[in-house]
Symmetry: C2
Subunit: 359 residues, 2 copies
DNA sequence: CCACCAATGGTAAACGATTACCATTATGTC
DNA sequence: GACATAATGGTAATCGTTTACCATTGGTGG
């Protein structure tokens, strides 16, 4: 084959793209060994400047594209992480996902997204991607570990690099107390949300929770109780509606709330989508928000402030959550010691128009 | 090593999970060859029932996990597709993504998501994943092909399996007229949206467009013009505001519209997020929708009907778009002939509360 | 000028599957 | 029972990288 560099052939070199050229062919073209090609490309300071230039030039000329699969196989690093998410289209999640993806990309990793719809089987499929070497780590958005109980129970099974986003995963078979996670202080946030409503004079405050299996929802409810008790108001369980962090739950829960004998004057929704469904349902039943009933959301999703009425809500630092998750996970993958596994980020009460004083 | 099946060792077999067991070790354990192991697992009817059972049992016992990277390298099938998306968190996109991911998963493919923010360089990065064998095909959500012009201009470069979602990709260097795509009839949709407003008596209809570089936005505008001309109403370019399919564009464009001498009585937004920004801005400036100004959206995103006022909009079949994209792409990857590259799905005008008659 | 060491680059063995090719065994036909 | 044919399963090559190990080269100090 004609040597690119010696250039004994004076015709302008034909630029070949995407030809099936591997390190072997490239090495031949550049007149060096495959080892040098590989080193020049992925370990540049292991070779001399001359060699580097020679290889890079040849690679450029022929449009060489290294086969990442082969590299991954050899190095046992796939360069992927997998995000296991109950619902990709959920607005809060998709915000986190976005920054997650960006932060991963900055460090050369791609993100595989698994939308599970909360289905255990699908969680397992995605969890298994790291066992089958398709991914190097996992970001879990739910409160369940994506592995078979049988596996979790086995001493031989060591958890792969994994970070919890906004949730506390737990398992009967495994101690998860040291699992890294990035979240806000849900108890405090629940308390502050409730305090805001109490300060406005509300005493009968209904709650539409998130998935009640999930620690985040429980913690927010905990905060709610704390605030009530602090204010000397008895907790009434009939005011609590179990939701699941969806818009639809906001709708159906609100309908139930409206059926109660004594209507609450405020509703605390544990996510903005539920609040949206809640407000729409209230309006449909002839109630004005906030005049008749105040509604408070959670998350501060992208368009919470554009809704009508604009939504009073607890803002979560979406962008930072995603970024931190990625950073911690990639550090784990790189074998770095994680000094602070539990990252608690600040939240913020955003007071807008969906809540108002009761008098 | 002890043979699982002969079971001469009567102690209960220790179940080993995730040990570093490959086909080689598994073959030894099962007492067969690596070829048989591979066949039993991924080509079951190439082996006898006895053999299959023997291998599957052993695999189960030791928790064997095939290394998908190695398999991919050998078969040159990564089992991934990559979706190149300007904005993952956009509500319309995330809906498509969700069904896309599900349909792909059903056929054993995973989806890598690339959020590009419209940045050319990032598009190229993701487009390149198929060259580097990390993905077998591409779903493109934008109107640009994710490859260097240099590549596109080269005859040697054949486009990988690729499907356009809701857009018409084009390139100065490549004929894209046969590129498979899944979309609605944007011209017709634009026309119908405008006709709806005309029927309500509106004559001054402003438009907040999508990215004006994109064929979808141009086509919708085309439909708008057709409807106007049909109704004998002259087209006035000052009513057109160039947006980019975002909420923020809805806000800023609406502000500009409100500055005009002659205020329109209706605004046609080319996506629901823009409509949301539009309505919020109108409200902020003291205008009631639809009493003062009607607003019509596009997409029928998940919560369009829960907004206040609920949004009149053109519904796109989100779920089907995603599913079809995945199906067509996977068929292409499987080497099937695509008989109908251009899939035009039906849209539907959803009349709700954000538009009303002018008198 | 020699011994020594660092820098450089080559050879060949991995990584862990799949599969072409072949040898063996089972099945069926006459 | 002999033979053709189908079914089965083994051996070893292969996919395209990276890298351990080694050989060579060049530079430095004595």
């Amino acid at each position: 084959m004609e040597n690119v560099l010696t250039g004994t052939n004076k015709k302008p070199l034909r630029v070949l793209f995407m030809s099936n050229i591997g390190v072997k062919e490239l090495a031949e073209i550049a007149g060096v060994s495959t080892a040098s090609v590989s080193r020049a490309l992925s370990n540049p300071n292991r070779v001399s400047k001359r060699m580097r230039k020679k290889v890079l030039l040849a690679a450029e000329q022929v449009g060489y594209q290294p086969n990442r699969l082969a590299a991954s196989l050899r190095t046992s690093r796939s360069g992927n992480i997998v995000a296991i998410i109950p619902d990709i289209s959920d607005t809060f999640n998709s915000g986190v996902i976005q920054s997650l993806e960006r932060a991963a990309a900055e460090r050369g990793y791609s993100v595989l997204f698994g939308d599970t719809q909360g289905i255990r089987e699908r969680e397992l499929v995605y969890g298994n991607m790291v066992n089958s070497k398709q991914a190097d780590g996992i970001i879990v958005f739910s409160h369940r570990l994506p592995f078979e109980d049988e596996l979790l129970a086995s001493d031989d099974f060591v958890l792969p690099p994994m970070v919890n986003s906004c949730e506390y995963a737990h398992s009967a078979f495994r101690d998860t107390s040291l699992l890294p996670l990035v979240t806000i202080d849900n108890v405090k946030a629940g308390r502050e949300a409730t305090e805001h409503l109490l300060e406005l004079g509300h005493k009968d405050i209904a709650v539409i929770t998130g998935d009640i299996e999930s620690p985040s929802a429980r913690q927010r409810l905990e905060g709610y109780k704390e605030a009530l008790s602090q204010a000397g108001i008895p907790f009434r369980s009939e005011l609590i509606q179990a939701g699941d962090y969806t818009l639809e739950a906001g709708v159906t829960s609100t309908k139930k709330i409206l059926l109660a004998k004594k209507r609450p004057s405020a509703i605390f929704c544990m996510c903005d989508e539920s609040a949206l469904g809640c407000i729409a349902t209230l309006r449909e039943h002839g109630f004005d928000v906030p005049r008749d009933i105040s509604v408070l959301g959670f998350d501060d999703i992208r368009f919470a402030k554009y809704l009508s009425p604009s939504l009073t809500t607890i803002a979560q630092p979406v962008e930072e959550i995603g970024r931190r998750c990625a950073e911690i996970l990639l550090d784990m993958i790189d074998g770095k010691e994680i000094e602070e596994p539990q990252t608690i980020l600040p939240h913020k009460l955003m007071v807008r128009d969906s809540t108002s004083a009761i008098w």
